[in-house]
Symmetry: C2
Subunit: 256 residues, 2 copies
């Protein structure tokens, strides 16, 4: 039944710079069963090549084609419409948009800009939107578990701020957009229904994936998970499991 596994990264595979216990063997177990693995992340602070290098530095097997991040989807979106991006993203991600192309059509691209979310930068983006530019959100997550262990504001609250200020609605390119899940699965040959999503974000990774048509979505109790998350969203997770290791066991049991 299930042919592919869509796996979130931060809070599921690793936390900060540390691999979560059992994550490596869990991923090997899934690969050994012939399942296609896709790492899909809404992290908008790292380039795709940084993500791949980071996973390999932790000792994991990872091919570039297995990693999907919103900047890739945004690049495609901008190229199709010949739009020049007005970036409100993390400085580390700016290089992903350095195409050299310039057009009169502009689009505001917003990600998890972190410290780059200054009033001046937000106000500049607001003015570009007021002139009619579309708003492209790399992600709209509410928060993430920061390196200090506490929750920090993600891109979503700032997307909502600009939507409220301008009366426009953002096009969201990362999870839980159906297009993003489909893009990640394209080369695996499996449909949305044949995929299982594993994530620590009950809203975006789990309820969002199920609404987009993903076959099953497992909520792990690691990362940003907080007690009660499983009841705060509709639809509920297909299953709630302790960690990635338990998620892999659930999937192997389901396909055996």
């Amino acid at each position: 039944m299930y042919k592919s596994v869509l796996c979130d990264l931060s809070g599921v595979v690793y936390q900060g710079q540390t691999l979560l216990p059992g994550a490596g063997s869990a991923l090997n177990k899934l690969r050994s069963k012939g399942l296609a693995l896709r790492f899909i992340t809404n992290t908008t602070r790292k380039t795709k090549s940084d993500i791949v290098a980071n996973l390999r530095a932790m000792g994991l097997t990872c091919e570039p084609d297995e990693v999907f991040a919103p900047a890739q989807a945004a690049r495609t979106w901008l190229e199709h419409r010949a739009c020049t991006p007005h970036l409100l993203v993390h400085p580390a991600l700016e290089i992903e948009f350095d195409t050299g192309a310039a057009s009169e059509m502009g689009a505001v691209v917003i990600g998890d800009a972190g410290e780059a979310f200054t009033y001046a930068n937000l106000n500049r983006a607001f003015r570009v939107l007021n002139d009619g530019a579309p708003l492209l959100a790399l992600a709209d997550n509410r928060y993430f578990r920061d390196s200090d262990g506490a929750l920090s504001l993600d891109a979503g609250p700032f997307v909502k701020a600009l939507e409220f200020a301008t009366g426009t609605t953002a096009t969201v390119l990362g999870k839980p957009s159906r297009e993003f899940f489909e893009l990640a699965l394209a080369a695996t040959g499996s449909s949305l229904e044949q995929a299982v999503m594993i994530g620590d974000d009950a809203e975006t990774d789990v309820a969002g994936a199920l609404r987009a048509g993903v076959g099953a979505a497992l909520l792990v109790r690691t990362g940003k998970y907080q007690s009660g998350d499983e009841t705060r969203n509709d639809p509920s997770p297909t299953a709630i499991v302790d960690n990635l290791e338990a998620a892999a066991a659930w999937i192997v049991n389901a396909i055996d």
Copy 2:
């Protein structure tokens, strides 16, 4: 019928540091007809004494009791609940909250903080809210006309950002809260129905005042007014007039 006039300041009486044409004589005309005047503003970048001094410097007659700004309402709110404010306001406004009182109960107070809306400050407020503190918004306007003539982000978008991040709803203390209009009118002896609001913000000043029960609300075509504003909100303005002078003429005509 009408006994009081509630008049917005920025964009109605003055723009930046300049009195709008005819504003002084319009206010004198209203006073000469025996109408009680109240200046009510959602500006959260100036203390009440700064506002009074500013109006007097422009040559206008103004008593402290005639000026109502959200910080006054917030002070009352915090005192009643013995809450210590965690401030996300413009530095110039911090002195209004310098009561010296400290309690274990905290509340996040958000205003038009301008450059003080840094990621670090917003994130600190987010964490205080996550610990269960209530969110108190001095105002929730979307934008204002800045000193450079263009529109800039007001407090509202940042209120929405924190509401979205935490799943809480802010208590809004400035216009268009009914309590704020009532507080402004308290010493005049007139009811909400006996008051006319004059403003350049079709949403907060006009539709908001009418929803709160104010008798009439006039939209002026100065300040942040943009063509079409009169049709974007429900209820519609009682009348749309060119400026404060025309608003005064409309009121004098209505009571004569």
